[in-house]
Symmetry: C2
Subunit: 427 residues, 2 copies
Amino acid sequence: MDKTHDPRATSWIEVDPSSDFPIQNLPFGVFSPEGEAPRVGVAIGEFVLDLSAVAQRFDIGAPAEVFASRSLNRFVSLGRETWREVRLRVFDLLHVDNGSLREDADLRSRSLFERTRVRMQVPFEIGDYVDFYSSEQHATNVGSMFRPDNPLMPNWKHLPVGYNGRASSVIVSGTPVRRPLGQTKPADAESPLFGPTKALDFELEVGFFTGKENPLGEIVPTSQAREFIFGLVLVNDWSARDVQRWEYQPLGPFLAKSFATTVSPWVVTLDALEPFFVEGPVQDPPVLPYLRYEGKWALDLHLEVWLKSTAMSKHQRICKTNFRQMYWNMAQQLAHQASNGTNIQVGDLYASGTVSGDTPDSYGSMLELAWRGERPLKLDETGEERSFLQDGDSVLMRGWCEGEGYRVGFGECEGTVLPPLDSSSSD
Amino acid sequence: MDKTHDPRATSWIEVDPSSDFPIQNLPFGVFSPEGEAPRVGVAIGEFVLDLSAVAQRFDIGAPAEVFASRSLNRFVSLGRETWREVRLRVFDLLHVDNGSLREDADLRSRSLFERTRVRMQVPFEIGDYVDFYSSEQHATNVGSMFRPDNPLMPNWKHLPVGYNGRASSVIVSGTPVRRPLGQTKPADAESPLFGPTKALDFELEVGFFTGKENPLGEIVPTSQAREFIFGLVLVNDWSARDVQRWEYQPLGPFLAKSFATTVSPWVVTLDALEPFFVEGPVQDPPVLPYLRYEGKWALDLHLEVWLKSTAMSKHQRICKTNFRQMYWNMAQQLAHQASNGTNIQVGDLYASGTVSGDTPDSYGSMLELAWRGERPLKLDETGEERSFLQDGDSVLMRGWCEGEGYRVGFGECEGTVLPPLDSSSSD
């Protein structure tokens, strides 16, 4: 067994059993201590370990300069063997039996930062951002609203439907999101209008970052997916439903999605997630050979969405679901993306599409939870109702895999809605 | 009048009147002399002027180090005043009345390279690539094939329809393009197949690169477009029509387009194109206020597509059209993109969509020229026919604005089709 999967392993840094970041996790991220330049770190309990500092003193499997960077791209481009090696050596340094860092008070003070006192960054310089649509329940729910006669397209069970998103507007958890202006055409209007969206939504998703390139014109079989997938984050694919409805035919969602996409800052590695992979749903009809795969690729990852209005004192949970029921898995998504010879890059982000379960409280978007406004959500603390998001609302996503007495968690993916620009100024 | 628009201006470098690159043009690109690192240059007649070398000796408005780069991003991020200043100073150095560079034999020999002997690069590190759909004739032609009952969607005349493309697979003219594998579902098949596309196509487009950032959450009115648009290139948006037909609903084109997009290497500046802007088509119904614009934004740009099979000795022209009839213009495309607060970046590529005219010989794709195979193209030299592209076919695009006795041209955008990978290897 990989020693990092040992449930009994503990660190000399005290970690609460409910923490997302025990020694079994060790996710990578990019952080800035106050007033200092960004660098690469690993989360451990309530702390961040600065790898650019630690690597100057200890051999952690990669040189210090790859960690003195504003993104993970340089480190991750060194390849899977290096990702694993670095994680193992950091595990050793943090392990309760190891005194080398613990007893070096000077280095400890220079390399350990309280997580609440650092600023996190988008972890990668993102080349391309792709969004899939891989939850059967979500595709069926949304399809039945947008196309009542034809909810699930004939192609849906034959290929992981996806589309290209906007990379420039991927932002990190904690960044506020301005309500976008956009063109909409209400059913009772003769011609379209331009103004703030009235149907601002979130989408609960899980994304993976790639850590390896393939040359243009070559393919990536599902059997190579583990070489390519560095790790996972939570993704909020903010959506303006009224804009989407009017613009999306025939070329797909565009401005309804491109105004912002929030990611959680800590990239949880495939290595840390290994014990939590399970069998996925049976795919029927059988998929074409290039989409077949070996092994377990569904992930038993608990997911939640919490909402807080400006009038509320704390967040209320509005969705509870699990990533394991996704119809298409990451290996298939990647193999499909590369099946036409598209070159994969270090730092591409591939999101799953909204994660929705079978029950009404497990839907991963407001559109589904409030069923297009027919069943507004009740906010218990204040008695407010929500069909879509209001200005000032904070949307908070959480995710974790449950081990024996520990969690491999993702931290938070949060964004608060800012009021729109004055749209009359552009009239 | 801008002195660079003087038809009588000439350079001490002899330039043929049919050349795309007279002293009135001076497009920017990135080139590598044999065995050397890439750097920024300007095309003049049959030569490239190395700005990284010239700027070490003369003040050309920006420091030499911004030109010693593998992309235009660093130079262009200095802003529109600098783009204009550098172009004016290069104009002066190359002008027949100026001896400072002409008479410096050493610098001349180090800074002037024959264009046929250098290797061109994709001119920008591309952040996001967006493809619009702005030719009414093309949208109507394709719409009538894919959706006979509904060719032009109700939104089409209210907003410039567009979608996000794949940035990683944007390649430079001269790079071969492998015929992609993909999933298709022939009308007579019970279930989909995976294999080489049987309907490989080109799309004749014109793209612009942005040279200025705006912050996330802000807009860019049409009146600011000239500050943001650095210059234009020819674009071949290669397409697999059979893959597109099966995959594109409901989220738009994905793998049918992402395998390759070819750009011409020389970025022709808005300043050079200024004399060729004309009134665009009347937009009816009137557009919303955020899409209104002042001044001339249609471009009188002649466009051609030429084809050569392996059996032919030279290319045959198969399409002749003009960019001026596009329904939506660049200022509107950019304002629409940013209307929801999307952050524009230095080095984004925005392509026009296929440029098709009113007559059957002015259509910008094989799908339209051969009308879905109903009217195959005849290749005169060999008697071959084409409904879609065959392996070995070379597609060559050209574009130029016609001045009085000179051309402001775009050079070539060429790609040759390579045979596909063996798809059985992924079975």
